[in-house]
Assembly symmetry: C2
Homo-oligomer: 246 residues x 2
Amino acid sequence: MSWRKEQRRAERGYHHGNLKEALLQAALGLIAEKGAAGFTFADAARMAGVSAAAPYRHFRDRDELLSSIAQRGFEQFEARLSAAWDDGRPDTVTAFERVGKAYLAFAREEPAFYNAMFESGVPVDANAALQAASERAFNIIRAAAERLAALTPPGTPRPPAMMMALHIWSMAHGVASLFSRGDAARRKLPMSPDELLEAEVLIYLRGLGFPIDRRPATKGAEPPPVPPEASSGSGVPPGGPWGKPK
Amino acid sequence: MSWRKEQRRAERGYHHGNLKEALLQAALGLIAEKGAAGFTFADAARMAGVSAAAPYRHFRDRDELLSSIAQRGFEQFEARLSAAWDDGRPDTVTAFERVGKAYLAFAREEPAFYNAMFESGVPVDANAALQAASERAFNIIRAAAERLAALTPPGTPRPPAMMMALHIWSMAHGVASLFSRGDAARRKLPMSPDELLEAEVLIYLRGLGFPIDRRPATKGAEPPPVPPEASSGSGVPPGGPWGKPK
DNA sequence: AGCTCATGTGAACGACCTTTACATGAGCCG
DNA sequence: CGGCTCATGTAAAGGTCGTTCACATGAGCT
């Protein structure tokens, strides 16, 4: 019964050496399995092979551990969005689409982070560092929207970039949280969450005046609103983002 | 110390008489205050003036109480969406906009229900009645989308109504869950959640080919895509849903 | 009047969160 | 090398919860 503990102790010594990190990793795994609500401080301690009181040397309480994870999540989130955006290469619309997909991919592949960030009830303004990380992540979307807004075709009113960013964020979060994760994914859909979001964003962009489906034959620098990637990279079938109208 | 309990008992007798309902109401209040995660079965019992074991005569466990609330929430949700839709009167687009607003209004005014329905981790397919209620609510959006899809202007491909419904749902849920409730509402925005969602939906609809901002002078039955409500009821300023492009 | 069964009680178990007093040992200073 | 100090870990204990079980109560039927 207790030889395991003894053995662990032997392997590790009285001091763990890297408990904080071990706890974060353990918590991440537990949240991925059972959600932020089901995760327990005691379990994380057990998993790290220490007593239930040890975590309190590294985190004020359970909530602080949770918000640490959320913060780390926002940092990784920012990194992924940033890589997807790639400063708008090869062209703004393609890169923008990639950001949307990266958003969903993150929600799907890092359920624990996503959960801690958006569904754990951790108030974003609890921690200044957390809030800053959250803002940095959002700023990627904002910057992308800024660049996109600058490309609105002549004759069309230019939408506020901030509004565009919030719209895109709400679409991505809505799809992720309703259809792309956990039991929510069980709702049966006529298309995958990725396709759903892609179509949604494309229709939205078209509503802003971007000639998404009919690529203009014009060419040159950026000013021609949508360079000829519309058919190749972003997978828009001719006739509209949702395929043939039957 | 115990005279309060005695008094309660005296007021009420050994049997509560309506405990199930009292528990649901108590839980609703507690969830509104502290979120579904923070709500405790014991608290609900205390609030109803009964022992901690009493609730088990009416609910198998805490989760069943939660999913009962979610179910009731979906029923009220359906009622409100349905009233807002009003079978497409006075015209489809106006009614559609009203449904979007009703969605947000519900999320804002009934945070406890919304929380139980979408953020409590209750699996929708746990309970057949719950699932049915959830589907009935979604079907309002679906039906509205169906009617709207039928109005796509000639020459524009007709989008699948199901897809439209899912898009609208994800927008509404995204805005509600990110900006319209609890601490999430603290994120400072350039516009209210209602305005944000309204603009989002209008841009989206325009992307589908609906001439949202330039109302056609045509009139008659439904076939003229957007009857002259666009400027009156739905509050779209000329020049686009987001106001002047500065 | 008496029976029955739905409904409520109290006590108890195990798990969790958190605090407190105490133990250990790694790193530094002389 | 010897000893001090302080960050880090432990055990124990108090409080809350969820849940179960044996038992109490009394409303409604016969």
